[in-house]
Structure formats: C-alpha cells, structure tokens
C-alpha cells in the first residue's frame, strides 16, 4: 500500500512543481543563449533580464516545493480530500510515511533541477574555474576533498529542508487538534517549533563551548580560516547529529499525534 500511496502522492505534487521546473530550465536556456551574444546591447540586456528571472524562479521553486508539500499535507489529511484519505484501508502511519517520503523525493528533485538550471544558465570555463578554486581552498582548510565537501553541503542542505518540512507537518497536525482557527494555530505552532529548536541548538552549542574553550571562542568571534579546524568540524558534525535527532523527533511526534485520531473539518 505504501508504494501505491507514494505513486499517487508523487503524481499530485510533481504536477504543480513541474511548471516551475520547466520555467526554470527554459529561462536558464534563454539566459544562456542571450548572454552568449556579445556584440548586441539588446541581447545583453535581455540576457541580464532572463538571468534574473531564471534565478528568481530557481529560488522560488525551492520555496514553492515546501509550500506545496504543506498545502497538500493539510488538504490530504484534514480538508476535503481527507474524506478519501482516511477512509482508505491503510494505516495512518503508512499515509504519514508516504507524505514524508514524497516530501523527501520532491525536495531532492527540486534541488537537482535547481542545480541543473544554474549549471545551464551560468556554466562557463571561468565560472567553473572560480567555483573549483574556492571549493579546493575550502576543502584544503577543512582537510577534506572537494567531493566530500560537496556531498556534505548537499546533505546539510537536504537535512535542513527536510527538517523544515517536518516542522511544518508537525505544526499542521498539532494545529488541527483544535476545533477553531486551525490554520492560524498550525502556522503559529510550526514557527514556534522551528524557533524553539533553533534556540535549543544554540543552547547545545553553548554547552559544548563550556567544555571546549576553542568552540566557545569560535561562537564569540567567527573567523573562518583562522579558527581551529577541529572546532569547526566538531560544530558541523554536532549540528548534523542534532538536526537528524530533531527530524526523527518531529516525525515521531507527527505520527503519534495522528495515531490518536483525527478531526476532519
């Protein structure tokens, strides 16, 4: 049943997102074509405009992906479509897992399409060289390879996106426990949960700093390149661990609240 749910949930989310994907890639191609023509002022102006539009679409596609995921989650579990979702002979845990897996897949897809659009729009030998140099420099500072660094950045970005998605889901699930002002409650609880976790993270880092003076020094005066590499690495890995724990925590929270039963509008 999970596979079937994922299939239908994916179909539902990819349809609106594909509009952004197509627009992003199209404007990136246009930007690339117009920017290639060097001897025409009109083409250069149009090239700049299409570059700005492409960049806006790429950024907004990431935001739109999250908003769509939340909207579909709310519609599927608490609005009109919930009348079908909750009457399917499927466990609520499976329905929730499907929503989360589809969220993960569509976030990765959106990130990949965004990177592809950026590559199409901005690729040139000089740009590639500049990115490579800065990556090699950063990788050298942190005593790692460029591939590892890229993988780490991709993983952290994905983790942050998944965390925000799950916070939103938890906000909606908790907001809909009430019978009044469900939307406002969902947003308020979601934002509150997100801020609470940020404060908690700072608290954890502060506690680490109490035992590691170099970490505390790093918090007080951030000076990348001068600070001890091990302290930055420690913070980075601690951050990853903390966000994995938060994400699992919010997943379980959402699941447990749903298990208690729903009150569909």
């Amino acid at each position: 049943m999970l596979g079937k749910l994922i299939k239908y949930d994916l179909k539902g989310i990819i349809r609106p997102l594909s509009v952004f994907y197509i627009l992003g890639v199209t404007f990136s191609v246009l930007a690339r074509i117009f920017n290639e023509v060097q001897n025409s002022i009109i083409f250069q102006v149009v090239g700049k405009i299409t570059t700005v539009i492409a960049t806006c679409i790429i950024i907004s596609s990431l935001l739109f992906c999250l908003v769509q995921l939340w909207a579909r989650f709310e519609r599927g579990l608490f609005k009109d479509e919930a009348y079908l979702t909750h009457t399917l002979p499927v466990k609520i845990q499976t329905i929730y897992a499907s929503k989360c897996i589809v969220g993960l897949i569509s976030t990765v897809t959106t990130m990949v399409i965004a990177l592809l659009s950026l590559f199409i729009g901005y690729y040139s030998e000089e740009n590639l060289q500049a990115v490579r140099s800065s990556l090699e420099l950063t990788a050298g500072i942190y005593d790692t390879t460029v591939v590892r660094l890229l993988l780490l950045v991709a993983f952290v970005s994905l983790l942050e996106a998944v965390f925000i998605m799950l916070v939103g889901y938890a906000g909606i699930v908790l907001g809909y426990r009430s019978n009044k002002n469900k939307n406002i409650r969902s947003v308020t609880i979601g934002v509150g949960l997100y801020l609470a976790m940020q404060v908690l993270t700072l608290g954890i880092v502060f506690v680490i700093g109490l035992f590691q003076p170099e970490v505390m020094n790093l918090i007080k005066t951030v000076n990348f390149g001068m600070d001890p590499v091990w302290a930055i690495k420690l913070l980075m890995y601690a951050g990853i661990g903390i966000y994995i724990v938060y994400s699992i925590g919010y997943y379980i929270l959402g699941e447990k609240v749903l298990e208690k039963g729903v009150n569909v509008d």
């Binding site: 239908y8 009348y83 009457t87 399917l88 002979p89 208690k260 569909v264």
Partner: protein
Amino acid sequence: MNLIECKDLCKEFDGKPVLKNVNLKIESGRIIGLLGKNGAGKTTLIKIINDLLTPTSGEVLIEGKKPGVESKAVISYLPERTYLNPDMTPGQAISFFHDFYSDFDTERAERLLQDMNLDKNQKISKMSKGMREKLQLLLVMSRDARLYVLDEPLGGVDPATRDYILDTILSNFKEGASILISTHLISDIERILDDVIFIDEGEIALSVSADELRVNENESIDEYFRRYYDVRKTDKI
C-alpha cells in the same frame, strides 16, 4: 454480531455536545434511514463511524472492532462533499479505487460511468457539482462492501435525479449488505427503508422498523417526522 454498535457515544466541539450518549445497533442486510433535521448530529455520527472524527467518550464498534483498517475495507462511504483530487479524471479515479479497494468492481464502475454519460477523460475540476456527485456515487456503489454509508446522497439534486440516484443505489449494492442513508429528504427515500433512526439534537429519538412505524402511527414516515418536529416546536414554545 451487529454490523455497527455505538456504546454511550458522545462528541463535543469546544464543550458543546453534538452527540449525547448515542446507543445504537445496526444489523446486516438492512436499509436504514438516519433521519433528522440539519445540525441534528447525523454527519457527526457518520464521521465517527468512518474514523474521520474521534469520539469524546464512548465507542463505535464495526463488526465488533474499533474503526480501523479492517472496518474501512468493508465500509463504502459517500460523504456530502467532493473528496476527489480535482486534477484527476474519472478514469484515474476508477484506477485509484481499484488500487486501494480489493472489493472494487472496475467493470461495474465503467458501466455506470457510461450510463451516467460521464467522460472518462474529463478533469474533475471541469465537472459540474452534479457530475462530481454522480462520479462519487458510482465509485462508492462499485464496491462490494458490507456497509454503504451515504451522507445526504440526495442533497442539492433535482427530483428526477433523486430517483435515478436511488435506483442506482438499490440496483448496485451487494446482497446481504446494509445501507445507512442520512437525509432530511424523507419522502424521497422512505419507500426503500427497512429501518429508521431519528436523531434529534444529538440524541437517538427513535430507532424502529419502518413498517412498524407506519402501522403503529398510521401515517408515512415523512408525516411522522413533520409531526414529531411540530410537537417539539410547540413543546419548546
């Protein structure tokens, strides 16, 4: 074993009682009318049976078990609103039901789709309200369920279509199954009812066989219903 059993079922919204100590038993093979005025608690009771609402206290048992995966596999539910994804087409909706309900009869659904003159490839978002209601009805009645729960299937439909809907329900439900129909349009459905349940201000006012009610009161169910509320109104005044 009873198909549905409600034990001291209560539901409150923000402290306001909507269902008050509902005790009810529904047997297999019956067509039951859940009758009452708007806001009497019919939809709330149906939503609890379908696991769409959590009771404040008491419980509902479907074939002896609490609402869950097993009960959902045997109940075919028609809500009073459109619950299909508007981006789907009727053809995709049929595939969806076929994927999730093992008792779904695709051939029957396609036959009903043709009978109702619905385009298999038209998007649901482009359909009229009446067409959407017909589509949902055909999906629900294409299942070989043990209980069909139909919430206001005649609401907002012209009299000619009401007859067509009732015929569709009667000619497509599985033998031995029960139908629970919630409505306030009693005169339209009373001819098909085996039992009636009156619900009034969240309480079961009457649960009786339709024939027994007609014989004992010497009037139609619709007339009894109107008289009942007239008396209630006078009592309140």
